[in-house]
Symmetry: C2
Subunit: 327 residues, 2 copies
DNA sequence: AAGGTAGCTGCACAAATGTGACAAGCGCGG
DNA sequence: CCGCGCTTGTCACATTTGTGCAGCTACCTT
């Protein structure tokens, strides 16, 4: 008797996504558990599942973002840091979250705050631009689900390698969570040569994709640092040699493909002419630029981003906030 | 050494509400617990509290609505009932939640769904009209916190008795959760005589308060039934005799003070001339009327409300939904 | 100043939850 | 047709969480 196939046996009238298999059941399970406050065992009995299954469904619903936990953010736990940041850097707003325990990834917690902020702020038909990275990934996991109305625009080219942290996956996750349509830049993030870059940028599809930034109301940006802790190496964006030469050229990191020095100016370096992404001027024209990045090692590039006028709203953690205030 | 007084010792620069005592600490605790996934004991150690204290703070944050749990609602667990309701009653939308176990109050779960719906839909500067009752109370507890921009308008007069279920408290909770300003109707819900009602309604303040409905973009209404299970008695709105005579007059319940019969027309009864609330025509002019009510015993008045054109969006539970579909 | 209330701590225990090992069932491709 | 790999069920166990009790302190009321 395939009891547990019952839900799958009822085909949903709407287009069903890849992970819809469970979604309806999961929603019900979570409802009983979180909203009614029943115990996992009670839910299991009521729905005819094993407790373990319920347990797994809940865990999955939590991690997949089907259920979101929202903490009142205005009563920020780190309100003082926030107001000092706003004052010192003339920000529209700052959100500072506690730095996590050392064995946790800063990006997940900063991303969580970013996702919550975006969910709170994004209007029903706004277009959201995004860069890429672990923070963006975490933000996508922390969006409250929507269904239509929004558009997600990826602001940078792709990475050939796989893994869950890459622009296409970031954009896809984000779009999926918002039920949004999505625009991708169908080129590598970094072309092999300046000539190739120019040719690509001129080609119809790519030009159109990059031009999509004009319709962006709000952009969620992250910051890539060039310290030894940089993940850029790990994700294969650049080689260690390139990293070193970028540092020699004065770069402290990049924001959406724009390599900046400590005072927020673009650096001169062969690499920068090979990067494919939305140009700085267009980016600055976006109504609200939200920069989400945390960890003390990112303080320099965050500061550079602010000075480069790429940050209206800063979402970061205590460690980076303190480093920023100490400049 | 009063460690745990530290937070209270730092006066907040912003106006601090009655329950601010803990809010900042609570936000931080919840952040560590829910977002970072630390155990209560770890949080306790980290912040220098007892585990028990953490436990209580979390429980309180949960019940006070400082932290909200949101389940993707579009993937409704009861999607089929929803679409049948929409079809049969020509609704704009229907949300059906599973009926809770018999020892739980339907109103809390329907209210939870209503709160989530309002949080999802309410624009940043909209004005929300509300009626009153247990469902509204629960809805208020399930709003995601906001800070300014909205206005809450109570659509009915007050009850003299205390207790947490009364129009003023409902409106105040709702407004507090949204950081909204609030308008009250400063009269009893039911005046002693028709003459008194008329005089009150004509008086400047009351007239202005009732006229505030014109700026309402969206209203959250609940339904009061006149079955034996009705809470109207318990809250002292009407006496048992009045209830009986209302039933004799054909009434099946009331919505925002309007007593309706089974087909959704106003009934004739001495009481209806003594009720102080926003008139039907003005109510019907509101852009979106959300009716939140659950339990099989409310089916009749829900149906009456729909027929009376007081419901664009219905939020209810399985039991009521099935009863409605069986009509 | 006395008395009472509320909240805190520390301890202890029961209930609930997360997890691992292993067997059973199912779909899929060779 | 068979076995492989994946998911799910079963059982068992460690951890985490909720809660009650006794005693204490701080604060508020009278």
């Amino acid at each position: 008797m395939s009891r547990n196939k019952l839900t799958a046996a009822v085909p949903s009238p709407v287009a069903e996504d890849a992970d819809d298999f469970d979604a309806k059941t999961a929603a019900r399970v979570c409802w009983h558990y979180f909203k009614e406050g029943q115990t996992q065992e009670e839910v299991a009995r009521r729905l005819g599942f094993t407790r373990k299954r319920i347990n797994r469904i809940i865990a999955q619903a939590l991690s997949s973002g089907l259920v979101q936990i929202t903490i009142d953010s205005q009563i920020g736990a780190c309100a003082e840091l926030e107001s000092r940041l706003i004052a010192q850097y003339r920000l529209r707003r700052a959100i500072v979250v506690p730095s996590p325990a050392p064995d946790l990834d800063v990006r997940t917690v900063v991303g969580a705050a970013a996702g919550q902020y975006i969910s709170d702020q994004l209007g029903p038909s706004e277009t959201l631009g995004i860069s890429w990275g672990g923070t963006i990934h975490a933000a996508a996991q922390n969006l409250r689900r929507r269904h239509g109305g929004n558009t997600v625009v990826s602001l940078v080219g792709g990475l050939a390698m796989s893994g869950p942290i890459n622009p296409y996956d970031n954009a896809a996750m984000m779009a999926r969570a918002l039920g949004a349509t999505c625009r991708y830049v169908t080129t590598p993030m970094i072309a092999d040569s300046r000539e190739l870059r120019d040719a690509l940028v001129r080609s119809t599809h790519v030009a159109a994709a990059l031009a999509a930034v004009r319709s962006v109301n709000r952009a969620l940006l992250s910051a890539v640092d060039l310290t030894n802790r940089s993940r850029a190496l790990e994700y294969g964006v650049i080689t260690r040699d390139t990293l070193r030469s970028l540092r020699t050229a004065g770069a402290v990191g990049d924001i959406a493909g724009h390599y900046l020095n400590a005072s927020g100016s673009l650096v001169s370096h062969p690499l920068v002419d090979r990067v494919i992404s939305v140009d700085l001027t267009s980016l600055r024209a976006v109504g609200e630029l939200v920069l989400a990045a945390g960890g003390a090692h990112k303080a320099a590039i965050i500061r550079a981003g602010i000075l480069a006028r790429l940050c209206h709203v800063l979402i970061t953690d205590e460690a980076a906030a303190e480093a920023l205030l100490a400049f």
